[in-house]
Amino acid sequence: MQLAVNIAVLAAIYALISCGYVLIYRATRVLSLAHGELMMLGAYGLYATASLFSGHPVAAVAAAGVLALAVGVLVYFALMWRMTGESVLAAVLATIALGILLRGLMALAFGTQTRHPLAELGWTNASIAVGEDAFVSGVGLVLVLATAAVYGLLFAFLRFTRWGIRMRAAGQNPLLAAQRGIGLHGIYALAWGLATFTGGLAGMLIASDAGLESTMVVIGLKAFPAALVGGLDSLAGALLGSIVIAAAEVLMVHHVDPLLSDVVPFFILLAMLIVRPWGFFGSREELDRV
């Protein structure tokens, strides 16, 4: 039972992070390897707003969310729009360089010790009993609920709203979309904003649960196989991929060796790349397009 709860929480973490990879890839065909750092930036944003709005935790969380969204849009307009039309390699390398830059700047601005945004907000992380002999932390429960909400909203957004439909169109064929009067830069910026927002949300929740330190970047990287196993251009795939990866990781760590935690996602990724490179739900022609 405890294992199932652990799997659910870890899957929620991976799913919340990997939808950022999917959003950016689906709209702009760029793989953002700075996602882990952007996630951490979101968490530091919460830490900063928590001390700024002390006494108003809800306002602090809202402000941190808006901040994350703004950072994503800023990243697009400051850097990534220059990379549109460049080779895939150049764009991916630009995100790597951005990641290094952010990592350095965050260490300069916030130091390197572990931070606890939750304590700063004045909330506590209670342990809640699930069933008879399993426990989940309060933040873990919020994580699962937040992931469900984010995925529900994203599905609705992409299917029913005008901007969501535009985003899908821009992802399918940028040239045709542009000729139909869709402003690509606006769409791409929105994709970056949403991805950074969801990533930032994941960062804030992880930081609330386990403290905020530089190892968070590794979690961001480990979520990335989840996106790929499910199919890089499919949100439903990211969800399924996260569950598969989380289940495999928790079971392997529990039954075989705790050291495996960092490699299990990548083993699954390799197996998937050999058997079915486009993932569970990814579209097959994507392979030839990159």
Binding site: L89, I100, T112, P225, L273
Partner: protein
């Protein structure tokens, strides 16, 4: 192969197209440069000598990555993993069997070649991003195996490796290392230049240009891709072996993802598709942290920032990489070629249009 870059020089034989050094002036400059490299360790201080050693060691790995990424066009993010594979092969063989360097060096090369073959296999089905991702997986798997060995055998802080010895003489002195590394780097550069003007090298450039066309021209795309992976990984693993002996110490912490990023940066900053670029990029990336340190001291901030030197380095490094990607995608070699062209063209500013000369 290359366009003649001297005024008044015209090629009359096909062999001249393949010459590494075409004019007498270039031969003279090359000889002068070689002489300068040989004299350097006797003039340089200890710090300058150490820097030169680091550059020469880095150049082996950077040239290997350039062959794969810059020429064959295959993206790899597993470079640190391959270096680690070479270093750990050396470390493990030394620790377990007390193997001398003339066993560990070929063994590392073999392990590198095998890994290159295994991780080149996905490249037959995957392109671009997906390939980069599978090489990233390689990185994590090799690092995991290394960490596993370290903890299981009780070398949790790392493996100590004695300096290599030839008939009782130990390679310990920085000046001796300089010549060994210089020989290794020179051999790598010459090997690569030679390979690039052979059939294999031309096949690599062709698949980089467009795979479908290369296939239509009768080039086996599979073989070209795999050979690029194997050659590059082999050279990288040899660099890893040298790294293990040079540092005298192997530990997984040394082979983080940041090392991969540094090597990729060498290739980017130096300029894609040029061996000279790989070397220039290595010089830049290795010297960069020292330059930052010097800047901090000059600005009088050294003491304030002492605790966060790594953060300053990361930020500056990321910024420089972004600036190069955005404003100078051709890298340092592009700058160098522009300077050359300026002198060649003088007093004109532009090359004449093709067909009008």
């Amino acid at each position: 192969m290359t366009v003649p870059r001297a005024s008044g020089y015209f090629r009359t034989r096909y062999a001249e197209d393949f010459a590494l050094l075409d004019t007498r002036t270039r031969k003279a400059w090359a000889a002068l440069f070689a002489a300068a490299l040989l004299v350097y360790p006797f003039l340089a201080g200890p710090l300058a000598l150490d820097l030169a050693n680091q550059v020469l060691l880095g150049a082996v790995g950077a040239v290997a990555l350039m062959l794969l990424t810059g020429y064959a066009g295959q993206i790899s993010l597993g470079h640190a993993g391959l270096l680690a594979a070479g270093a750990f092969t050396t470390g493990i063989l030394f620790k377990e069997f007390g193997a001398p360097f003339w066993v560990t060096l070929p063994a590392s090369a073999l392990v590198g070649a095998a890994l290159g073959l295994i991780f080149g296999l996905p490249s037959l089905r995957l392109r671009g991003l997906y390939l980069a991702v599978s090489t990233l997986a390689l990185h994590f798997i090799v690092i995991h195996l290394g960490a596993e060995y370290e903890t299981k055998r009780g070398f949790s802080t790392g493996i100590l490796v004695d300096p290599p010895s030839i008939g009782g003489w130990q390679l310990y002195d920085a000046r001796a290392w300089y010549f060994v590394l210089l020989a290794a780097a020179a051999a790598t550069v010459l090997f690569s230049l030679n390979l690039l003007r052979s059939k294999t090298g031309r096949a690599w450039r062709a698949i980089h240009g467009r795979e479908a066309v290369a296939g239509a021209l009768g080039i086996s795309v599979h073989r070209a891709k795999l050979s690029a992976f194997v050659v590059s990984s082999m050279l990288t693993a040899v660099a890893g072996c040298l790294f293990a002996y040079f540092r005298g110490f192997v530990s997984v912490e040394a082979f983080s993802l940041f090392l991969t990023i540094q090597y990729v940066a060498m290739v980017i900053i130096g300029g894609m598709g040029s061996i000279l670029g790989a070397v220039l990029g290595t010089v830049f990336v290795i010297l960069f942290p020292y330059f930052i340190e010097w800047l901090m001291e000059a600005a009088g901030l050294a003491e304030e920032l002492a605790a966060v030197v790594f953060a300053v380095n990361y930020s500056a490094f990321g910024l420089v990489m972004i600036l190069f990607l955005v404003f100078e995608p051709q890298g340092l070699v592009g700058v160098w070629r522009r300077i050359q062209a300026w002198f060649l063209m003088w007093p004109f500013k532009q090359k004449p249009l093709a067909g009008t000369k």
